[in-house]
């Protein structure tokens, strides 16, 4: 079988791992162009009006990639309406005259199933080959997560921010070529060492903020208007726990993870709220008790599981006077508004700190 041309939606820098996965399966990856306003506008134009914004971004990615000719679109799923995206997106694109195969990873609940689905991307790819492709792509994703975690926690305190950005850019460039387990491991450790060597002017007790919410808007800086970076640059150590590999692991752990998360949410939840919402509550409760300065909750406008979480988070915020900033994104959200709110939030956290140390 000839090499199939395969595309997928963007999410942060994970496109590198998706590209590796597709190419190690023997297919040809067609990475959608970098997101711009045009991506969102094109996607929103063909999407149902009040579907959540990740759907619109995905559609924009597909439309831009389809221009170059595509055989396969890969779509994943989640615990909410994300799970239904694939079929509706396929219907819309087919009505527009595009022809392609959709590989929808939504039904996969265990690793063998996932590997079997992956082999549909490039028929003829052997089982061992698919397992190997998945493992290497997975390690790449973890490497991206480790680097980004360091950046979130430290970039606000770097004496020379450019130094962190240069190391990160080189890492991402080289990761595309690191397609063995060993190469990924080596690149990861040299990058973390290089980042660790960059001088920081970090106070002993920096402001700490946790970021929780819906997975896509959380992990796609273009969709959340770079909120983590803006927070970090305001002199905050930013902590985020939802990552692609954490989601895969939690998904595989199934109910065990759900039960643990409900317990971690303390007295606030008796049941699972769906998707990432239970974790949004649990993390907020844990971090508040650990002495974090505040939380930021992000979601697409109308995201039901996270709206449920908000009713709980608003109560926690009220009863403990614990700062939580709620960010809701749709296709119209303006970048400037996000900037102003982050600035005001960080100023408020600084003031609280000063008041507390003065008292």
């Amino acid at each position: 079988m000839s090499r199939r041309r395969v595309t997928f939606p963007h999410m942060g820098e994970y496109w590198i791992a998706f590209e590796t996965l597709v190419e190690l399966l023997g297919a040809q990856a067609v990475v959608p162009p970098r997101m711009t306003r045009h991506t969102l506008e094109a996607g929103a134009h063909v999407s149902p009006e009040f579907v959540c914004v990740p759907f619109k971004y995905n559609m924009g990615n597909f439309l831009e990639a389809l221009e170059g000719g595509i055989d396969v679109i890969v779509q994943a799923g989640g615990g909410c309406r994300f799970g239904y995206y694939g079929e509706v997106q396929e219907a819309i694109l087919r009505d527009m005259g595009y022809d392609f195969d959709l590989v929808n990873l939504v039904e996969t609940t265990n690793l063998p199933m996932l590997v079997r689905e992956l082999r549909r991307i490039q028929p003829g790819a052997s089982y061992p080959r698919a397992v190997k492709a998945f493992l290497i792509a997975y390690r790449q994703a973890q490497a991206i997560e480790a680097v980004e975690d360091f950046v979130r926690k430290n970039v606000g305190f770097a004496v020379d921010r450019g130094a962190i950005d240069r190391v990160t850019a080189r890492f991402l460039r080289e990761l595309r070529g690191a397609r063995t387990l060993r190469a990924v491991r080596d690149l990861r450790s040299t990058t973390l060492a290089a980042l660790g060597a960059i001088p920081l002017a970090k106070p002993e007790n920096p402001l700490r903020v946790g970021v929780v919410g819906e997975l896509y808007v959380l992990m796609e800086p273009f969709a959340n208007h770079n909120i983590e970076r803006r927070l970090a640059e305001s002199g905050v150590e930013v902590h985020r726990f939802v990552t692609l590999t954490s989601l895969i692991e939690h998904g595989l752990a199934g109910r065990t993870f759900v039960r643990k998360t409900i317990a971690a949410a303390g007295p606030w939840l008796e049941f699972h709220l769906g998707a990432d919402a239970t974790e949004s509550v649990a993390k907020t409760w844990e971090l508040m008790n650990e002495g974090f300065d505040g939380m930021v909750h992000v979601k697409p406008f109308g995201c039901m599981p996270e709206v449920s979480a908000m009713s709980v988070l608003q109560r926690i915020s009220r009863e403990y006077t614990f700062p939580i900033m709620f960010m809701s994104y749709d296709a119209q959200t303006a970048e400037a508004g996000v900037d102003t709110r982050v600035e005001a939030f960080c100023d408020m956290l600084q003031m609280r700190r000063r008041r507390q140390s003065g008292a």
Binding site: G274, M304, S311
Partner: protein
Amino acid sequence: MTEGRRIGLPRSLLYHTFHSLWTTFFEELGWRTVTSPPTNRRVLERGVALAVDESCLPMKVFLGHVESLRGHCDAVFVPRIESLNETEHVCAKFMGAYDIVRNTMPDLPLVTYDVDAANGVQERASMLALARELGAGPLVARRAYARAKAAQRAHDLEMVRLQESLLDVGSAERDHTRILVVGHSYNLADELIGKPILEFLRSLDVEVVTSAEVDKPQARALSKRLSPSIKWTYNKELLGAVELYREVVDGIILVVTFPCGPDSLMAELCQRRVEDVPVATLIIDELQAEAGMRTRLESFVDIIEAKRHAAHKAEVEA
């Protein structure tokens, strides 16, 4: 507790589907049931004030109903439902309803039961546990559950029978335009959301068939023809109603409340895949102006009536 023993039922969300089950169950256990009044502006306004801004309209209405039961009962009943069978699930608001109410109105006593059949939490076991919590012995509990299920089944059958008797009249001999109104039971049966739509259509001399009175298992099975991968039980019923009736109606109206995620996707698919019958989507929000709704319905009815007459004329001439 001798004087009290009153359970409050919010007339909202799944009450419109399960009122026979719940009312019979609590009454068989020796509790009186108090149901909140049909939705009115005041109930909605209280709900809007209590809810997170971005909540969907039915959730706002629901919170208004819960609040309106305060002081009229010993505890308000708010079930928690994630999945009713092994392969489907329901909208996330039914998963969150109990914890949302608990955190929005912390001082209000609640009772609940949990159904998550896909993960082994069955309705029967959960309802029996609730009966125990309410002080019933095992025999009374089991009898109450059996009678409640029987009452619910009888009610569902009756609804289906009513609808079918209406549809018995074939399209050849009927002189009224027939429209299928598709929407969640909690929207169509709501005094403020769905009732005005159904009443207005009837005032235009339209024969109204709704998705609320379909044979549910049959509808869910049929939904696969329109959408093989949809997983929400109630959306499957709506799609199944479309599939079941599309050949015997002149038009279909999808009633969607803002900003319902499942419905927005389902409506999109319906508009694309149902080509033989005109389909209109009506979006309702809390600021809904009745005049706008009427204008839209009127023009839709005009269009399909014109189409019907044209077809009739063509038939006569042929």
